[in-house]
Amino acid sequence: MSDPALATVFGPSSTGDEPELVQLLTPDGERREHPEYSTDLDEAAVKDLYRDLVLTRRIDTEATALQRQGELGIWAACLGQEAAQVGSGRALLPQDFAFPTYREHGVAWCRGVDPLRLLGLFRGVDQGGWDPRESGFGLYTIVIGAQALHATGYAMGLQRDGVVGSGDESRDAAVIAYFGDGATAQGDVNEAFVWASVFNAPVVFFCQNNQWAISEPIERQTRIPLYLRASGFGFPGVRVDGNDVLACHAVTSAALRRAREGSGPTLVEAYTYRMGAHTTSDDPTRYRLNDELAQWQAKDPIARVKAYLDNATADDDFFAGVEREADEIAAHVREGCLSMPDPSVLDIFDLVYAEQTPELAEQKEQYAAYLNSFEGAH
């Protein structure tokens, strides 16, 4: 909202004085100190993160290409948000649990979910083909905000299982709930804040503020920085440079540690940017300027790690190795996608209930007979 005449109908814009955000690596690849947050990741660990970032982007780009070629119905790219996802995803311990939206491909990668599995939903062969319990990574959730409550409930389950604040670091666990800037307007997300606060639930709310909810800029959801929302519910909030994988890792690690120790929830606002369209169905030229994109491209989450490693000991071999891996994984995704079996319509009758109903069994049987009648006819 830049028209001052609209100031009384639309609140004061939140742009202007943006607060400090936690940053440990500048866009130029320089390390920064922060009074509260630091990272003990050594160069090898940073290389690992770099690899995660590059592979995430490659998976994402490949999926976008597959959609363009008609192999996927739609794809929601995480382009530009890789650092937020990899930084937070790598802060998780195996016993932790992550509740994603539909965009957390980088987190899925960190949780060991075969990227191919992510494609099922978008290709229309299933609605989530991985085992959430095995991977500690919930189903993609499309209804905006719903998973924030699921995460909080799961965290309450951890409390009841005695794996919060027990002092045993190999057991104590926490939950992370992902959602976007738009989601902060939903009742469910705010109810999750109430619950988490009241029950002191071990949950980290990780909001990727990518500046847009489809075509709506962040000003349509809030007039103050989002991380401040937490203060209204009585738990800490922090804004981190969402394009800085080190800072995201450090801030999320600290928040998860707090949660596992029994000190309750934290809201992390990862300040980042959706560099692509909302989904492959979207046309952002209708509502945003290229300028903005150019500014954010200068803050690319991968370029800065590359710059940092360039200045450090990483050599061409390392980068070439990562590229090779990326090519392999892209091929895996592409080939796997093309050969993904279509589901059988008859299977859906068996998936509705744990204990199937006689009605459904009958419907299945009748439908099978109906389908068979065509077989005969041909």
């Binding site: 609605q127 083909g129 319990r133 409550l149 699921h150 409930g153 109810e191 619950w195 209930y353």
Partner: protein
């Protein structure tokens, strides 16, 4: 055998379920010290602690949404919705999450959640406290829906619902909470998803569930005095419907009347009429008639006795059916 109220039978059923499975939790508004506004959870927090009987913040979507997470972690949450009219804020979590997660996860995330809803009118309450929203849930694939009508069913069905690995929306007839009947806790319960002939008859079949079962039974007694023999079916399960006993009865009587408090339009009577039409077409001597709420919001309580189906309206429908 002692007489027990429907409310107390539920309490006992909940207690038994909690005793036999430590994963069973109770969540809701005022379910703790107060024991719920209908006292159905009376004493449970005292005995099972605040971690298992959870007074939640005042938000129904929060109750169901956190229940989903707890279920994913292996718990079996029994969520109390304080009154029928307050289930709607949780509607999204129920129909888009609870109902679908088993399906969406290819069976990996069962949702053993029970949503207890005291429902229906007749208690002189203010607006939003007398709703009958069962059709909305029965229409939603992925949910199972049952309704209890008497203390014995209440005792067993709540335990069966909790034991079910599928989500069950569990309707309790609030105007019958204080009615008593004998309960033999050692009896062998019939399956959860079965309907039951509760009175045999030959002239017409009258189906009901929850609070209307008693009304219909009273109507059947009155009808008998006029020489009409009504077969009464307590449907008990609305999703899935158990059409076996219904079809058998209608084939015998040729006349079918469905009674519920919910508005007739798109209520359970519609589905029963359609299915009876399909399964008993040649046996039907009259169209399936429906007795239920008019197509209005639930009215102020001073007229609810006229709004709700009663003995006379049931008999009137039976008469109309028999007159065909």
């Amino acid at each position: 055998m002692a007489q027990i109220t429907l409310a107390k039978a539920l309490t006992n059923g909940l207690r038994a379920a909690m005793e036999s499975d430590p994963k069973v939790l109770i969540m809701g508004e005022d379910v703790g010290k107060l024991g719920g506004v209908f006292r159905v959870t009376d004493g449970l927090q005292k005995d099972f602690g605040e971690e298992r009987v959870i007074d939640t913040p005042l938000a129904e979507s929060g109750i169901l949404g956190t229940a989903v997470g707890l279920a994913m972690r292996g718990y079996r949450p029994v969520c109390e919705i304080q009154f029928d009219g307050f289930v709607y804020p949780a509607y999204d979590q129920i129909v888009s999450q609870v109902a679908k997660l088993h399906f969406r996860s290819l069976g990996k995330l069962p949702m053993p959640i029970v949503v207890r809803i005291p429902f229906g009118g007749g208690i002189g309450a203010v607006e939003h406290h007398s709703e009958s929203p069962e059709a909305q849930f029965a229409h939603t694939a992925g949910l199972k829906v049952v309704v209890v009508s008497n203390p014995a069913d209440a005792y067993f069905m709540i335990q069966q619902a909790i034991a079910s690995d599928d989500p069950v929306v569990f309707f309790e007839p609030k105007r019958r909470y204080w009615e008593k009947a004998e309960l033999d806790e050692s009896a062998e319960p019939v399956p959860l998803h079965s309907s039951r002939v509760v009175r045999e008859g030959t002239d017409a079949t009258v189906m009901a569930y929850g609070p209307m079962v008693k009304t219909v039974l009273e109507a059947a007694i009155a009808a008998e005095e006029e020489g009409r023999s009504l077969e009464v079916i307590d449907l008990r399960t609305l999703s899935p419907l158990d059409m076996g006993p219904v079809a058998e009865s209608v084939r015998k009587t040729g006349h079918a009347v469905v009674v519920h408090e919910a508005v007739v339009n798109l209520g359970l009577g519609a589905e029963l009429a359609a299915r009876i039409g399909e399964s008993c077409f040649y046996a039907l001597e009259a169209p399936v008639l429906r007795v239920g709420g008019f197509d209005t919001p639930y009215p102020p309580s001073r007229v609810e006795e006229e709004y709700l189906p009663d003995l006379d309206r049931v008999l009137d429908a039976v008469d109309r059916s028999l007159a065909y």
